[in-house]
């Protein structure tokens, strides 16, 4: 009698708290991932926030210094130099990457025999290791024996000493980054293009719109959500540029390619200034957050949903 009553009581409780019970049922399956995220990602994130307010050099115990690291960064000319380099990289690489990816997507959005092969070829650099790609490009850029300057010489142009030039080193890094990363944006744009209803093109054609007008008045607005998505990710990715500069130039020559992410790495893992590096990481995060928020704020002006 009692057990029957308790079963009825339990069932009633479950019925009244259906959502909670569903959540509790899912919890054991989610727990491994949640714990991993909490300990190794969020935990590390909050730990580094604390570390950014300390002076800590690995084996010397952390010492609380409040905003000392942030103030030091503010007064350090090299910090502003790395920020300038990072913004330079972003200002050049993002528009080029997005534009080239969009144009490639338009080209790949054709029903032609063998188009899949071309899509694969453009996507191949994306799945190749950045380090391996950088090593190959290191030799392509060699001013004495490199392929690029050889091709330029055939056109009567004397190529610059790419990676060894304070003027050309960053453009060289950008070119390599675009070559490596344009494929993934191309695929995203391709998906967006294939989602545009054909009726809109037909209607525009009936109304007498030419191909350029159809592109400008149908394609561009309809693909604008995809463009926005690609832009946000490209900006965030550009602020974090690291592997290319680490392998190609190590931040040189003369700091020309020293980006904030590479500087953070050098400060943390080569110079063991953990507190200072953590502060720089949060400054970088603040810039990325500001850029992303600005993009979200501005999207209402040019992104068309539905």
């Amino acid at each position: 009698m009692h057990s029957a009553l308790s079963v009825v009581g339990t069932r009633g409780w479950i019925a009244r708290h259906k959502e909670l019970c569903q959540w509790l049922a899912a919890l054991p399956w989610l727990l491994p991932t949640l714990l991993g995220l909490l300990i190794f990602t969020q935990g590390a994130t909050f730990a580094s926030l604390f570390i950014s307010f300390t002076h800590w050099e690995i084996l010397i115990l952390p010492r609380w210094i409040g905003l000392g690291n942030y103030i030091e960064a503010y007064h350090l000319p090299l910090f502003w130099r790395t920020l300038k380099n990072t913004l330079y990289y972003t200002a050049l690489s993002v528009p080029l990457n997005v534009t080239i990816a969009g144009l490639l997507a338009l080209a790949m959005n054709q029903k032609l025999r063998g188009i899949t092969l071309f899509r694969t070829l453009y996507f191949l650099p994306v799945v190749t290791s950045t380090v391996a790609v950088a090593v190959v490009w290191y030799w392509i850029y060699n001013s004495e024996f490199g392929l690029l300057n050889y091709v330029l010489s055939l056109m009567g142009i004397t190529g610059p000493p790419w990676l060894a030039s304070t003027r050309w080193a960053m453009p060289a890094v950008i070119i390599m980054s675009i070559w490596k990363g344009v494929g993934v944006n191309m695929m995203i744009f391709l998906a967006g293009l294939q989602d545009v209803p054909k009726e809109l093109y037909e209607a525009a054609e009936i109304d007498g719109a030419g191909s350029l007008q159809r592109f400008w008045h149908v394609t561009v607005p309809m693909v604008s959500p995809t463009t926005f998505f690609v832009l946000v990710l490209a900006v965030i990715g550009s602020f974090q540029v690291f592997e290319q500069t680490y392998v190609l130039t190590q931040g040189g020559p003369g700091y020309a390619t020293l980006t904030l992410a590479l500087y953070i790495y050098q400060q943390a893992f080569q110079s063991a200034h953990m507190g200072f590096a953590a502060a720089l990481a949060y400054v970088l995060f603040a810039f990325m957050l500001a850029a992303t928020l600005a993009q979200f704020k501005l999207q209402a002006r040019w992104v068309h949903y539905g």
Binding site: I58, A164, T166, P253, F269, S271, A272
Partner: protein
Amino acid sequence: MDTRLTRRTLLKAAVGTMGVTVLTACAPKTSTPAAVQPTTAPTSVAAEPTVVPPTAVPEQVTLQYYSWPGMAYEDSERSELLDPFEQANPNIKVELSLFPYDEYWDKMLTLAAANNLPDYFGMCPLRYGDWVPMKVLMDLDPFVDKELDKTKFYTEIWDQLRAIFPSDPKLYGLPFRAVIEAIAYNKNAFERAGVAVPSNKDWTWDDFGQIAKQLTLKDAAGKVSQYGASITTSHNWFDAALNCYGGEVLDKMLRKCLLDSERNIETIQMFVDWILKDHLSPNPSELAAMPQPFQTGKLAMTQMLSCQVQEWKKIQEFDWDVWWMPRGPAGLFLYGAPDQVSIWAKTKHPDECLKLLKFANSEQRGIVSVEAGSIPTIKAKAQSEDWLKAGNLDNQRIILDEVPYMKGADFGRGWAEWRSMVMNNELTPAFLGEKPVADAVKSAAQAIQAVLDKVYAG
């Protein structure tokens, strides 16, 4: 019986699985049975025979030895040091692990933070100044005082290490070799230019510049086909060259940057003019594009580290040799630095590590593992015919004769940051002609001082 898989069943299975997993992970380790210890029979008043305890078997010990290629080579380190040592000490095994140089220091820092350093490891003067304050290196002065006959060693090489940390000048590593700077010259290049090879031990940097100008040749198109020398900001020669002109980079306590003195600015201007006006050296961009410029015959002369003899002795395209570094108005100063091994202060096997260290510094060790051109700290080894002939050079003796003039490169705390990263990057625009020398030097001095202030603030 209802065998449908319900949500309740699934939930029970999940919780049960997790519970088993947790319990298994938390199960106390079953202790291994203690080894049977030999027991001594209690002595008693009665005249019973005394039981003699069995001889204690030395504990089998494995030492972890970490280093990088260049500091140690697997084959020669094994054949000349580790295998003979293990034969002489059957209870000690040494596991050698080599890592690429850059990766090595990241790894060692991580291991230090985890309190899990290898017992015995390679150390170099560039990093020594940062590692001493970490208090993870064993003080080897007691060992040296007790076990080594100092008269048999180049103790001036040991003193180079002490000078890196003047506030704590103990030996926290024991150098087993030193590398020293010398001038390498291409005999065929001298012949092509019709210039006599260096023969004056007391030649100056001005003489060097004059000779390098004569050695710089251009092809029919006006492009330089052979440079007289290479002028860089490398610590391997640059800092000592400034000393030759009476300048300093840091003060004696290695805390204040003195790079922006008028004397230094004049000296650096001279080197920059050699590149930009006289074109006797490629600029940094051009040099970066030349793989192995001396070995490929692009440079008639170059500053070289003596350990490079090991690799360059394979050059067959031309004849070459070494000569004295040039001197300046303030005298002869040339770069030289010890390579050493250190022992982890918290190693569980200090005695075994010190045995290995003693063996590594004995005459039983061969010279191949020390690398041709690198100077063994053991005098007998360095002055042996084997070493003097190891590089196939007529003038290899000069490398030994230069030892009294060797000077480090102000290795101290933060060296890797202020010297490798900051100073080189700050001066490069001047060497490319993109910034006036005085501005670049002053900017470098400020940036270097900022680094020093930060490292010493801790």
